[in-house]
Amino acid sequence: MAVIEIKDVKKIYYPGSEIQVNALSGVNLTIEEGEFTAIVGPSGSGKTTLLNIVGGLDTSSSGSVNIDQTDITRLPENKLIDFRLHHIGFVFQAYNLIPVLTAKENVGFIMLLQKRPEQERNDRVTALLEEVGLSDKMDKRPNELSGGQQQRVAVARALASKPRFVLADEPTANLDSRSTGDLLDIMLRLNQEEGTTFIFSTHDQRVIDRARRVVTLEDGKIVSDVRQG
């Protein structure tokens, strides 16, 4: 079952000017439920732009992005924010946890925005932090955690809202090899055991090697789409 259907999406920066940039030139892509997909390509190939458009953070110049039959390119700003809150989990390259909140509060914050009951929040936060191996760091603030631990909190936060899929933009870019391995283990386990759909952009060969599907972008176009192992 398709979770995301991207149809002929184009993104043009500075249209009509001398410095016009075609960041995406008619991208078509379907992501099925439960996939573990890496979007790869050189710098400037359009990976981040594609992820931003799929995540509803940026607008396309044309084309459509259907998520569970809703074309998010047509949603007004307020509904789009709500849509992101309830349907999409985000993991950022720089972790982007709220510095004044503890690990537990950071993970619970998304559920608070969803107005979930306190008991449900506490139960899920505890379960998720145990899942990512941080049950002993629940009350630590981000500056008391290593980069790898912060990114694991970010993954738990992304999953807290029970999203349809998780978008991760270069999630391992700032991590050492051991932390990268740990994070990938967690993401793959969540994908296999709980069926969470992951889509991530990456340059990291270790990540690419473990992805089930690798979509390669070059100059804003998909040049290969390979399913592996």
């Binding site: 931003n52 953070l57 992101r84 950022f92 709220i98 998304i110 925005l113 969803q114 809202s161």
Partner: protein
Amino acid sequence: MYLKLAWRNVWRNRRRSLITIASIFFAVLFANLMQSLQQGMWEKALSTTMSLSGYIQVQDTAFWDEPILDNGLVVNDSLVDQLQGLPNISNVTQRIQSGALVAHDSLSKFSLLYALVPSDEVHILELDKKLDSGSLISDEDEGILIGAGMARYFDIGVGDTLSLIGQGYHGASANGNFPIRGVIRYGTEQMSSSLVVMPLKLAQRHMSAPGVVTSLNVYPHNIDKLESTKQALGQVISDDHIRLMTWKEMMPELVQAFQADTGGNVIFLMVLYLIIGFGIFGTVLMMTAERMYEFGVLVSVGMKRFRLSIILFLETILLSFLGILAGSLASFPVMYYYNQNPIPMTGGAAESMKEYGFEAIIQGSISPDIFIADAGVVLLIVFLVNIYPAIVISKLNPVKAMRK
């Protein structure tokens, strides 16, 4: 959670928050002290003046233009009781205010004669606290009280007799000798040297004016509701020959003097509030600029822009609250000290006060209005300052914000 988040954000940059709180603290401290002394000085001046005149007077329509006993009112106790029962009325007192020549031995001078019902007025005029020697007079007394200045002028005291020579009601003469029961220190030196206080019944007999008063003086509980109280009185007294006047109508020069004095201080207050405004704005500007990335993340993960603005608003409210609280706590003991220990005025300022008939002292006010007004102005500033981050957040592009 939002409040917790705001509170922790306030202390993310401890030094900056402390500087902001300090700027609010000092501005509130100075504003409170200045307003306390200014308001206190006028409160004291008004209460001294109003204790004699009342805040509203009921007079015959002719009395204001020609203040003589013949233009007085004939009143009965039931009318006074009826007025006394109206809302916001604390006291209604009967007065004869007149002039008379007073003499002792070979000396004489003009006096201000206040005839009143002692049992009604002792607490209004605080005569018991102002008694210098002798005793107070009773309603049925045949004696009088005089000012300390007058006692000095005639070199007389308790037990001596003073002659009063004046005009009575409808052409009758009003001459008599009255024993001095007590000497009081009341008002300014000028007033003290010409003051004679007499029981109303004695005065009415002396002036051949039974049941006549020159005014009914009204003292409301809440002096801010003068106009509505005046209207209520007017509905009970529906007589074309009777006129109601508030102290503002009777003493327009006093109102002007008050406005002129407070007007000058508005500029100083504006400067203080500008300091607060820029202090808060500087902090908000920095808080907004350095957290654009974070705002981008929060909007990305699904936080409504409005809620984000609320958190920033809460942060500035918390900062302001701490500043206001600290400023108020620090200013109160100083205000209280000057309330209990008024500052004596000297030189030209003192002379100017005496010309108006006020005591030349500055007494600090501890009215809650001062604290409430300052807190209100600071909150208004916070509202205005928070328009900026609200606009920034409403226009925030999360992708661009996170790229920065």
